[in-house]
Symmetry: C2
Subunit: 110 residues, 2 copies
């Protein structure tokens, strides 16, 4: 996370996935490219991503509005990545689009 001024996130897209055992280098390159592209999309606010050693991953992207999420879903390179995800990279995934109702931040240094 960086600390530049950004618009508040009103929506979160929770992407929980289980990787297959194949294509590590290609997958890593795709993931980096997708994060780069997502950051360029209007309405993008932030992304948080963790994958454990067992291949279970959670990526959450934050957006200002639903139209921005739809535009990102339909972005051409992203659509290509989604197709390869289903055919090669993910054993399963679960995607949830959520509206943020409330939030609490804790940071003793700030």
């Amino acid at each position: 996370m960086n600390h530049e001024i950004r618009p508040p996130a009103r929506y979160a897209v929770i992407f929980t996935s289980q990787r297959t055992a194949t294509g590590h280098a290609e997958y890593a390159a795709m993931a980096e490219r997708m994060e780069h592209l997502a950051r360029l999309m209007p309405g993008f606010v932030d992304v948080e991503s963790v994958r454990g050693n067992d291949g279970l991953g959670i990526t959450i992207s934050y957006w200002t509005d639903l139209a921005a999420i739809k535009a990102w879903r339909d972005e051409a390179e992203h659509r290509e990545a989604q197709m390869r995800g289903r055919s090669e990279w993910y054993r399963w995934y679960h995607l949830r689009i959520c509206e943020i109702a409330s939030e609490v931040k804790f940071s003793p240094e700030s």
Copy 2:
């Protein structure tokens, strides 16, 4: 995840956190105990949790309604864990309560 029949989740609590470098064994025991307790709460649906090697973690719990989330927040042992979290275990955290608007599942085996 298991596949017993459960009520649909309407809310997700996204808990993103950065661990401090201390208390690994105690923290692991607490995390296991909290997951056990959460599963006993009325309105609990599921939990997904991943922590990377850099100490960044995302835990998402799923609930049927906001009252269930509030009851879990106020549960006595959980409150104690929250206090120790702020004083010892987390460098920072960000908690977001979200309403699930839509979802998509992918699983070629099912």
